[in-house]
Structure formats: C-alpha cells, structure tokens
C-alpha cells in the first residue's frame, strides 16, 4: 500500500499542464471544467448516494462505483464553480476505468504536482486533495463491504 505510482492517464494530464504558461494553465483547467461528464441516468436521480466534499467551498459531490475491480468516479459541481468542476473533471477523466490498486496508489499530493498551485493558489488546491482522499476512502469502503 505504500507503493505510490501515478497512472499514465494522470501523468499525461500533469505533463500537459506543466508544458503551459501559468495563464494558459487556467484556460486548460476551464476546458476540463467544461468537460466534466454529466451523470449517467442511473445516478442522476440519486443525489442521496453522493458524498459532499465539504473541504471545497463550492458544493461538489462525488460517488465511487467499483465493478469487478474497476473504479468509476462520478462527480457533480455547479457551473458557478468552474475551478471545483475542473478539479473534479481532472480526477474523473484520470481515474475512471482504472483498477482499484492503481487508484489507491495515486500519490496523495498529486494535486500539488500538476502546476496549478501558483495559478490557482495552494488554499484552493486543498479542495482537490480532499476530493482524491475521499475517493480513495470510498473505494476502501466498497472493498470492505
């Protein structure tokens, strides 16, 4: 469990951010924000299943599904909170479809390594760290169930 490696999907997102100037990193975060997938129909009507990431100042909710060892991450955040949506979208796009062990091995400080601390501020990045932490906790809960 102490072995932490970054899955290729997230490594590629990180490299894309790091290749850009600070201002362009914000633009790319906005693109991620616009790309946050809508909830599938089976979850759209079940807000009760979702867990609020209270560390984010904006209302963002996540739900993790584990099927045959494969992780699916769903998230919802309002359009008025594009930064939080962007964080959620990075994690959803980077994590969805990975194996359980791969997700649990993602370094907890991943959000601090993608070149956004300066453009977005460390305080705001904490929301993304919390989202990742809660995602991992939900996976462990699903596995224990």
């Amino acid at each position: 469990m102490t072995d932490t490696t970054l899955p290729a999907s997230l490594a590629s997102i990180r490299d894309d951010f790091l290749a850009l100037e600070q201002r362009d990193r914000l633009e790319m975060l906005l693109e991620f924000s616009n790309e946050l997938p809508a909830l599938p129909e089976r979850y759209a009507e079940h807000p009760d299943l979702f867990e609020q990431v209270v560390e984010c100042q904006s209302p963002v909710f996540i739900f993790v599904e584990v099927t045959d060892g494969v992780v699916h991450l769903f998230a919802t955040a309002p359009k008025e909170a594009p930064t939080t949506r962007g964080f959620a979208s990075i994690l959803v796009q980077g994590i969805d479809g990975l194996g359980v062990d791969e997700v649990l091995a993602i370094p907890d400080d991943f959000p601090n390594t993608i070149g956004l601390t300066e453009a977005v501020s460390p305080l705001r990045i904490r929301g993304m760290t919390a989202m990742l932490g809660r995602t991992k906790r939900q996976i462990r809960e699903r596995l224990a169930a």
Partner: protein, 300 residues
C-alpha cells in the same frame, strides 16, 4: 477623476451610500472615463467564463496576497498590480464578485488598506447582474497601463493582528463564521482532511453573526433597518465602541467590516485577518467552545 455616485433610493439610508452602486447605474456608466470595474471571486476561473464588459480581474489569492509570507502585497506590489490593470489612484473602482460579494468585499478592504479613496461594491454582485440579463463577455480587456503611486499600506486603522485582539478583549467581537464553526463542532473521521486550525471554538465573548445574514435573498445588502436590528440590536454593538470582526482567514469578515463601516457607519471597525486559522492554532490564547459567548478571560 471620480465618477458620480448612485442616487438609488435604497442606498440613501446607509451611512455611506456612495459605497454602493446598482446594476442600473453600472450598466449606464460602463466605459465612462475614470471608472474601472473589477471582478473578484472565490472561484478563480469564474471571470474567464464571462464577466462584465471591460471588467478586469483581481484575485485575492494570487494577486493580493504575498506569495511567500502570510500577508498582503506591499505598496510596490499594489502599485504594479493596479497600474497593470489600468487603474489610477483617483479612479472610481467598482468591485463585484460571486457569493454575495464575499471576495469582492475582501478586495475592497485590501484596497482600503492602501487608501484607495473611491472604491465601491456592485450591490448584489455577479449573480444578480447575470440574473438581470445584463451584458457579459469572455473578451479579455487590454487596459492601457496606468501610473499608480507606491503607497505604503496602513494596517493601523482597519486591520487587527492577534495581539490587537488580545488587547481588545472586553470590547465587542463579531465572529462571522457558521454556527458550527463558532461552537467548535467538528466532523473528524479518517481521510477527512481538516481545516488549518488545531483547536475549535471561538474567541471568548464574541457574538456569532454569520456574515451571510447581512445579505438578502438576491444577494444585495439588506436595508439599513434590518441590518441595524441584527448588529445594533441582536449583537448589541454600540456606536463609539471599537469592534473587531473575524472569521477563518478574514474573507467573510471583510464583508461584515464593509457592512459595519460603510452601511451602518461604525467608525472604528477592524478586520482580524489572521482569524481562526491563526487563533485556533496559537499557543495559550483563550478559547470558548459551545454556543455561549463566554466570559472575557482575566489577562494572563
């Protein structure tokens, strides 16, 4: 050169009606020489999704804070920031933002530390502007840089440090956080990252008046009579007495500072920006838990 004030009737009852403008006023004055509109949000990307035409963006975290020390930028930094945004010292600045102008009020408070004279808020902020169908654009303005003088920040009048708060105990304190933060309840569980304070609760004797109570449903400030009932009535603030407001990092209490200073006319209001993230982690400062205000402690 400054711009006329908004004569709207709603503002007339406030102590300093010139500190607010309405959407009608702003829309009619957009583009007028001497007026600069600034958007300041909690969400650092919101401006990019659409802003008032011509508005420049100033972010509290990335622009107004010193990147290394926990402090605001200095006079040179402020001059470079404002000059770069095309703001002159005698311009009228109207700030607006998300969340009932929460961060906009914070920016206004920082502008005030540097003595920028004419700085106002758009009543109702960003959400109301958009809800009213007023113009929004994603075009980024390219302001002509202005000469902004290097003015040293004056923290003495409206900013309180921790030691100032200790010396102030016995005078009114307003804790503008949520009741849960005030009473010190916490949801602590594995993998639930904690906020940055080691202890929970509030500064002894502080009254809890969550900042959002100053705002009406539509995000505008409540009429003066209602504000009066909350702050002079419920919280028991008396004219002439010094007041200190605080929250978690000083952001929400800037909003309350604006209400007390500019709308209700209190003359000696300071914002303790170290707030709970400093107080709740400081060794040997008094803390009260629970919903009661608690007694002013004896000096140690």
């Amino acid at each position: 050169m400054t711009v006329d004030t908004d004569p709207a009737e709603k503002f007339a009852g406030y102590a300093h009606p010139e500190r607010l403008v309405s959407g009608d006023w702003l829309e009619a004055h957009l583009g007028e020489p001497g007026l600069v509109v600034v958007e300041s949000d909690e969400d650092v990307l919101l401006y990019e999704t659409g802003h008032i035409p011509g508005a420049v963006k100033i972010d509290w975290h990335t622009d107004l804070n010193d990147p290394v020390e926990r402090d605001y930028i200095d006079g040179a930094g402020f001059a470079a920031l404002l000059g770069g945004k095309g703001i002159s010292r005698d311009d009228t600045v109207v700030i607006y933002g998300d969340k009932n102008n929460w961060w906009a009020a914070y920016a206004l408070w920082v502008f005030t530390l540097f003595g920028h004279d004419d700085v106002r808020l758009l009543d109702g902020g960003r959400d109301k502007w958009i809800a009213e169908g007023r113009p929004i654009t994603t075009d980024r303005p390219a302001p002509t840089p202005a000469e902004y003088p290097v003015v040293e920040r004056d923290d003495s009048r409206i900013r309180a440090y921790k030691d100032d708060v200790l010396a102030h105990l016995g005078h009114p304190l307003i804790d503008v956080r949520s009741p849960e933060e005030y009473s010190g309840e916490r949801t602590t569980a594995p993998a639930y990252p904690e906020e940055g304070a080691l202890r929970a609760g509030h500064i002894p004797s502080a009254a809890n008046v969550p900042w959002g109570r100053a705002a009406a449903e539509d995000g505008t400030f409540k009429p003066v009579g209602e504000l009066d009932a909350i702050y002079r009535g419920e919280a028991g603030l008396a004219d002439g007495e010094p007041v200190i407001a605080y929250c978690r990092i000083g952001e929400r209490s800037s909003h309350t500072w604006f209400v007390l200073t500019h709308l209700l006319g209190f003359e000696n209001v300071r914002n303790y920006d170290g707030s709970w993230t400093e107080w709740g982690s400081t060794v040997r400062v008094p803390i009260v838990r629970g919903v009661e205000r608690g007694e002013v402690p004896a000096r140690r």
